[in-house]
């Protein structure tokens, strides 16, 4: 994968964002091209299973896969985008980082919390950045995060949980006076809908409603490589077109995945 590849392709992001569903668009209608679908020839023995048990996108060097919290912490530190990585003009939010040893969980009342990491999760880190308002455009808020699990199954469960969240809570409270609504999401395992960059991925789109009560587009992109889950969120202000925000998130996630690959391949 080229380092500047946008991981998520526009045509089906648009479908999720528009809420016009769900099953992959592929490039069919949009490009007129025949979609490259990786239904293997032996596919006939089972129902179409696009499950993430399919061929992995990436085989890490087993010696480099984090086994301890410290290894995990080193990895997330080096992978997760800091303000400068996002581009010119991005600065840290306050706080700039999540509390070490915690991760984000959506509780039974649909409120986001950061409890301690459970067993099976070695490390987690989120960094919060923003592009301040200026030049007639509103601010853009971004989050980058990574979680390292001790098993692939644990990491895959994290993506299942991510997909479960909008089913459980179509409206989610991030802070006391901020919430996310109108969520649509779609999980896409490696090989389905031209997904060729991660073992599994989830795209979520909705609106972010802040203090002022005005809604802004919100995107949450998640991808798994082996035991590592990387994610970015983008919340756009006035004057930033949807495509720009998608491109921003997609590029950032793609580059974080490149960092994961490089670390686990020992380059």
């Amino acid at each position: 994968m080229k380092s500047n590849t946008r991981v998520v392709r526009g045509s089906w992001v648009a479908l999720v964002v528009a809420g016009s569903l769900l099953a992959g668009c592929s490039a069919q209608g949009a490009d007129g091209g025949s979609a490259r679908r990786t239904g293997s020839p032996t596919h006939t023995a089972a129902p179409p299973s696009g499950g993430s048990s399919a061929t992995p996108a990436f085989r890490p060097d087993a010696d480099l896969v984090p086994r301890t919290s410290k290894d995990g912490q080193d990895l997330v530190d080096s992978v997760v985008f800091a303000p400068g990585d996002w581009g010119r003009g991005f600065v840290a939010q306050d706080p700039a980082e999540s509390t070490p040893g915690t991760w984000a969980v959506l509780d039974d009342n649909c409120r986001w919390e950061r409890p301690k990491l459970p067993r099976g999760v070695l490390a987690g880190l989120s960094r919060y950045s923003r592009l301040p308002a200026g030049g007639g455009k509103g601010a853009v808020k971004v989050t980058a995060s990574a979680t390292v699990h001790s098993s692939v199954l644990g990491a895959d469960d994290q993506l299942s949980t991510t997909l479960e969240e909008p089913l459980r809570c179509p409206e989610q409270q991030t802070r006391a006076d901020e919430r996310i609504t109108g969520l649509n999401s779609l999980g896409t395992p490696f090989g389905a809908r031209e997904q060729d960059y991660a073992d599994d991925s989830v795209l979520e789109a909705g609106q972010y409603v802040g203090k002022g009560g005005n809604a802004q587009p919100y995107l949450w992109m998640v991808a798994r490589l082996g035991t590592v889950v990387a994610a970015v969120s983008v919340t756009g202000g006035k004057g930033h077109p949807q495509e720009e925000l998608q491109g921003l998130g997609s590029t950032a996630l793609g580059q974080m995945l490149v960092r994961v690959r490089q670390r686990l391949k020992g380059k």
Partner: protein, 747 residues
Amino acid sequence: MEPLRTSDPSRLASHRLLGRLGAGGMGVVYLARSAGGALVALKVIQAEYAEDAGFRERFRREAETARRMTSPWVASLVDADPEAAAPWLATVFVPGPSLGEAVAAHGSLPVRSVRVLGARLAQALSDLHAVGLVHRDVKPGNVLLALDGPRLIDFGVARDLQDTALTSTGVVVGTPGFLAPEQAQGGREVGPAGDVFSLGCVLAHAATGRPPFGTGSLDALLYRTVHDTPDLEGVPQELAEVVRGCLEKDPRQRPTAEALSQALADTEPADPREILRAVRPSARQDQEPADEDWLPEPLIRLIAERSAAGLGLPAVDDTEVASESADTTAADDADAQPSGRAVGRRRLLVLTGGAVTVAAGGGLAAWAALSGDGKGNGSTAAPTAKGPVHTIGLHADLSGDHRAVGRAQERGLRLAVDEFNSRGDRPFTLAVRTVDDGGVPARAPAVAKRLVTDPSVLAVIGPTTDDTALASLATYDTAALPLIAVSPGATVLGVTGSRSFLHARVTDTILPFYLRAYLHGTAKSHTIGIVDDRAADAYGWEISSALSRMLHQDRQPVVPKVVSALRRDFGPTLDALLEGGADSVVFAGYHDRAALLARELTHRHFAGARAAAQGVLDTRFLSAAGEAADGWVVVAPVMDASVAPEAKAFAAAYRRRFDAEPQRYAVEAYDVARLIVQTLSSPSAGRVTRQNLATALRGASYKGITKNFAFDKKTGSLVIDGRGVYLWKVDGGRFRYQGAAPFQVST
């Protein structure tokens, strides 16, 4: 065929016996005509076997399994009565010579014929093995040749286990020289790998004219089978390695039948059945690739002679003929054209160069006899055609995982076309052309291309699955060829902007309305649990996300769980559902993993309702879940035409035509075919072009058996009116039809 003996009955069950095809240790095989007029091979078991309770039980079980299995290359089971005093079973009659006779008469087959033969017989074995049957006696005498391919006969059912093994007295009843070493050594029951070994012998024999372990005394043959390397001299190099793999002494070293079929099919030419099924303008015949016939010319002639001999056989009883000819199909052409009567019972086989054209002037039963499997029936051929010939294409999975659905759609289409062609006043004649993508998305665009490039094809029904539909949508759209999907449910099919697509069923996101109505209404559930299986990707997600959204909007409690495709244990999922207070479960996934959940629910004594959509409406769910399947309810855009009152006339016509109960999705395809016919016949289609027809279809409205058809003119999606979705409930190990599914909870 030998005539009947005085000791033979003239009728058995509803069959009229016509002659003896053979006799063996187990009983006699007759040629017979079923009540519906089809020719069948009727095997009647000797009373002494019937007295053995173990044998009868195995017979019953295997007949039940065989009934569920369909394979294009196996002479399929038509009917059986394991409970009769003399148990019997009827399979489709294939008039062709056996492979053994063909090789004896004309020598070894050319390499391409062997390859096609091997790929299809391997497919036949794979289909048998998939349902747990083992043939146990694959040999040249059990392979019959038809114009469109081989047929494996005399499969597993009704053969004594000892029949082909070395018995305690050292007698081999089967066919030495084609037995696997493990069979030749006796004692153990032979498994699927034994069939593969035997097939290897059959292929070597077909390629060289000699069995690979020679001929001679029984002992020498058995010894060589167990100890010697096979003699493959003369087997063409490109086949030798595959055949050698089949002949490994260690069963575990042999390929599976499926793998063998793949290996041989890689370079197999297109299904030669196409040429029989399609009616083409004669001007185009010279463009046919010369290799579509799979056998050398002398063998085609031999098969043709055999088939023609079948014509002299007595027809069904006169009274039955009279009652049938009123509403059967192609036969009526003869009535409409007095001169046609003369050829009425005679079939015309025109052999032109490499290509074979079959002109069926006779009745359906005769035509079915010729094609051998009772399903490769073309519509009336060009010589009796009236007006222009328009072709309706069927793009289906006819050989892969969803072949049961694809084949049912083929039959529904053929029935509608035959009925139309039987009208004396028809303004045009319809033909059918089928293409098979095997359910493999990567193959779908290429097979779509074959229909697209046939200018007589004006509309296409299919494909069978979401993935194949998505993969071929662009090909049809580019050609503006109307594509009408009967079984795929993906919503995305309607939002890619295709101008020629029509969705003849509600999408999967609509099914949750029916699921909710059933669970809140009939099942009195308060809190619905949803299990989204990620192994089912977008299909599961459409259902789970639409259902949970609907319940949230109605402020109804819901407990959704998403399960990783890597998990096979549904225990933790169930814990979470119960903890959330779910008193019913919707499974958003396919039949195989539904069975895992079903077993877990039963294991935990879960008392609530279990429901799913059409992905679970598959007999493999029943076999995998066993008793745990009981009580599951499936909501699906599929009617059971064999019992639904609205489909009574259809079912009767279907039974007459195919001598079988209507299978799922047959009546749905029949409806769509009639929609096409109506639209083609109406002036609104204008000058008949694909594009005009696409527009006319999207503007059409048609009251079908299964639903009302009307479409969104912009997207081609079905206008939802609450009809067209049905309930099925598992009861006693079967899916039982419950009629139309309610759309809303009745208040």
